[in-house]
Amino acid sequence: MSRTLFITLMCGCLLAETVKDASAEGIPEREMRAAYLYNFALFTEWPNLTSDNIQLCILKTDQPDFAAEKIERKLINGKMLTITTVATSSEAKSCQIFYISSYQSNNLSKIINDLADYPVLTVSDGEDAAQQGTMIELFVENNRLNFKVNNKAVHGANLSLSAKLLRLAKAVY
């Protein structure tokens, strides 16, 4: 028994090593997610933004799945997009964008509370994140990446999103 299991496991692992990711029609999800984050930065207006950078922050204990290398150091209206790691969500108060992966769904309410009155655009790909108070929720439907906006939360933080962004959102709360 142990021998047969072992052989099959070995075969499985060997196969796994020889097979690379097949490429089909379309853009990898993580690259698309990065492109969206870039666009959110482009179409959001922050009050009194004086720094030369737009800081996109992620939590040290998070594993967001987006192609950071595709957007890092790109210029947005003359300001450079930078990506910063923070230890706790309260350290993110000085960031412009805070990206929260679906892995943080247990912490979502705490993170939103921590950033409640600060002009930080919160973006998450957790299920129902927008309804729970995240400003933008990314989700996949019919093989397309789409987003929902919680505009109450956006206004509450003194931010404003362009009309174009609101028009393209699948839902606005």
Binding site: M1, T4, L5, I7, T8, L9, C11, G12, C13, L14, L15, A16, T18, V19, D21, A22, S23, A24, E25, G26, I27, P28, E29, R30, M32, A34, A35, Y36, Y38, N39, F43, L59, K60, T61, D62, Q63, D65, K70, I71, K74, T88, S89, S102, Y103, N106, N107, S109, K110, N113, Q131, Q132, G133, V140, N143, R144, L145, K152, K164, L165, L168
Partner: protein, 665 residues
């Protein structure tokens, strides 16, 4: 011993491995080298991006429930890849779990429970939040007697450990959480037909759609027949009992209906299933190889749910449900026909609130009222009518103490209106995330189960005596789980646990007459165990999951519990080939030796199952072929005391299932 009606030349595992390895070249054809196309996505207008297709990344499914225990998840994709036809098939593939079939019902086991013939199973089945166990036997119906076709299932989550803090009575050793598909997952009419060994066939028609106004509807119906086999039981090997052969006494038929509709905050759902099965084992001392000997289980429910956001910080969800179950059985005892009809009906209402007003706290609270207003047994010697109710209140707090520490604690109070009938079920858990990829969870929880109507009131009185003094049974569990996810595609999980069960309800010889059985509260049992699982998904659809579990269950006198294997190992491997148009799903399940109710050791076994699925070779058509028990292993499951003198029940040899599914689009 049982043999399939068709035979393949003898194949060994090694040969199969080579066949699997042959897929590798096909795979390399599918590999593309265009990863260096520099599409400047950030220069693409957003209007275009929202319309561009993405290749969704492979991900290990995330658990829906926030239970702090080790959770197993099987998705619709796994159900397709591995050809699962029943919930029992799904559960048998999960870490540390196993199923037994006594030719009438499928029983699940794991972490210290799993006596065959133990109808309650001590596991709660939730279908989209509705508690589907009946109110006579508390069974969850995991085989063809279940409420759902597996094709309607989006995912199955098994949460091990006591769940009474959330679900109260009966969420004893675990919760099977089934989420069904939505209408738009079908997006039109789907027709499916299948056939297999032993004269089995099945037809299904499903229609699902999301309407213009946003409403989502789904209807489905199916029917299944299986002629079954003529089975031989060596314990009945005597000329007076047809030399142990139960001729053509294994037939099974079922019919299922399921419907659901969702509109804005409302969700309405209902299901009905009826299943009739012949009993070749002549259980409860019926005359062997004599017709009629069958039982019919009919389950039905309707549930209406409403979700609403009262304010930014307060969400409410209310569910009203009605369920009913009828059991009808006919068998011959000493030449006399026995005809039994039992009826259970219940309704209930549950309201939950989730509040996030207090910083760092998410507080869940609510109340439930459930009325089991009919729990009746209509037996030839006389009838008993019973009813009961439970009123409950519960509260749980998810507290983010720090970004890396979460506490989860709560309690539920259940009140049943009888003497000494309040029960408090607590749970306390701490979750620590030292780094992004690793979570450590430690938990303590307790649960209870009231004796069900069958255990308490049923009296033949030729084989079973009622026991109105039966008390609820209790379990206390501690568990430590370590979960490591180096990336979103890979998961390594390990757990250690200890369960203490008090006043375990089990059937035993009646004190005043050993020829009769009566359910009593045994003193206690305890289980300790450890398991480990590795899972990985690849973007091309390849999937690997393997697990090993060790468990040791002893009763109060230190005896190894019946039907509780010490070792369980699983391997699941799925791989696409032929430009992704075909998939092979291979499964290995090892179940270690166990002891029967009569303390005979029953040997361990390894089962192999292989499924091939083709999709898109012919547009809108899916073809699937499954061979179960690929190497024709001769094995048996432990029988229940009800089936004595039969000690072990022979299982199916190599058998196949072919199915085609067509989408009208």
């Amino acid at each position: 011993m049982l043999k399939a009606k068709f035979r393949l030349p003898t194949i060994t595992l090694q040969i199969l491995s080579i066949v699997l390895a042959l897929f590798a070249p096909h795979m390399t054809w599918a590999v593309s080298t265009d990863s260096n196309i520099e599409t400047s996505l950030i220069d693409t207008p957003l209007e275009k991006l929202v319309e561009t297709e993405v290749i969704t990344a492979a991900k290990i499914a995330r658990q829906v429930s926030n239970a702090p225990s080790a959770v197993s998840i099987v998705t619709a994709e796994d159900i397709k890849n591995y050809g699962y036809q029943t919930l029992a098939d799904v559960i048998a593939s999960m870490r540390g779990l196993y199923t037994s079939y006594d030719r009438m019902y499928n029983y699940m086991g794991g972490r210290g429970f799993g006596r065959t013939g133990d109808y309650p199973g001590r596991v709660m089945l939730l279908i989209d939040g509705y508690q589907a166990n009946d109110n006579l036997y508390n069974s969850s119906y995991l085989g063809n007697d279940g409420l759902l076709d597996t094709e309607l299932i989006q995912r199955v989550e098994y949460v091990s450990g006591p769940g009474s803090v959330t679900y109260g009575n009966g969420a004893f050793y675990g919760i099977i959480n089934v989420v069904t598909k939505k209408g738009h997952d079908f997006n039109g009419l789907q027709v499916s037909a299948g056939f297999g060994s032993y004269g089995a066939n099945k037809e299904r028609v499903t229609y699902g759609k999301r309407l213009e106004n946003g409403a989502d509807i789904l209807f489905s119906t199916s029917t299944f027949r299986n002629d079954g086999q003529s089975l031989r039981f060596k314990e009945y090997n005597s000329p007076t009992t047809n030399n142990g052969l139960a001729r053509n006494l294994d037939e099974e038929t079922n019919r299922r209906y399921f419907a659901k509709a969702q509109f804005e905050q409302w969700a309405l759902e209902g299901g009905y299933s009826t299943r009739r099965k012949d009993d070749p084992t002549a259980s409860y001392g019926a005359d062997f190889n004599v017709r009629p000997n069958w039982a019919q289980d009919n389950n039905g429910f309707v549930s209406l749910k409403h979700n609403t956001a009262i304010s930014q910080d307060l969400n409410a969800s209310t569910q009203v449900y009605y369920g009913q179950y009828t059991y009808n059985a006919k068998a011959v005892y000493g030449g006399t026909l026995w005809d039994e009809t039992n009826l259970g009906r219940w309704w209930g209402v549950d309201t939950k609130f989730a509040n996030t007003t207090i910083k760092d706290h998410k507080i869940l609270f609510g109340g439930e009222y459930r009325n089991d207003y009919q729990q009746d047994f209509y037996l030839p010697p006389g009838s008993t009518r019973n009813s009961s109710y439970i009123a409950s209140m519960y509260m749980q707090d998810e507290y983010s103490l720090r970004d890396d520490i979460n506490l989860n604690f709560g309690t539920r109070l259940d009140y049943t209106g009888e003497r000494r009938s309040s029960h408090i079920s607590p749970r306390l858990a701490i979750m620590y995330t030292p780094m992004a990829s690793t979570t450590i969870k430690a938990s303590y929880a307790s649960a209870f189960r009231r004796p069900n109507a069958f255990e308490k009131y049923y009296s033949d009185p030729a084989s079973q005596i009622a026991n109105p003094d039966l008390k609820k049974e209790l379990v206390y569990a501690t568990e430590l789980v370590i979960e490591h996810r180096p990336d979103t595609r890979t998961r390594l999980l390990g757990s250690l646990y200890h369960y203490d069960t008090k006043r375990l309800i089990a059937s035993a010889e009646y004190v005043f007459d050993p020829s009769l059985q009566q359910y009593i509260n045994l003193r206690e049992s305890n289980t300790k165990g450890a398991d480990i699982e590795f899972e990985r998904r690849w973007d091309n659809g390849m999937h690997l999951r393997s697990s090993y579990a060790w468990q040791m269950s002893e009763d109060s006198s230190g005896l190894w519990m019946a039907n509780s294997p010490k070792n369980l190992a699983k391997l699941n491997f799925a791989i696409p080939f032929l430009y992704n148009k075909m998939r092979a799903g291979f499964e290995l399940q090892y179940t270690g030796p166990r002891v029967s109710e009569t303390r005979t050791e029953i040997g361990g076994y390894t089962l192999a199952n292989l499924t091939l699925v083709s999709q898109g070779i012919i547009p809108n058509l899916q073809l699937s072929a499954t061979i179960r028990n690929l190497f024709d292993r001769d094995y048996s499951h432990v029988s229940s005391i009800n089936a004595l003198p039969i000690v072990a029940i022979p299982q199916n040899g190599r058998n196949f299932w072919l199915q085609m599914t067509y989408d009208f689009k």
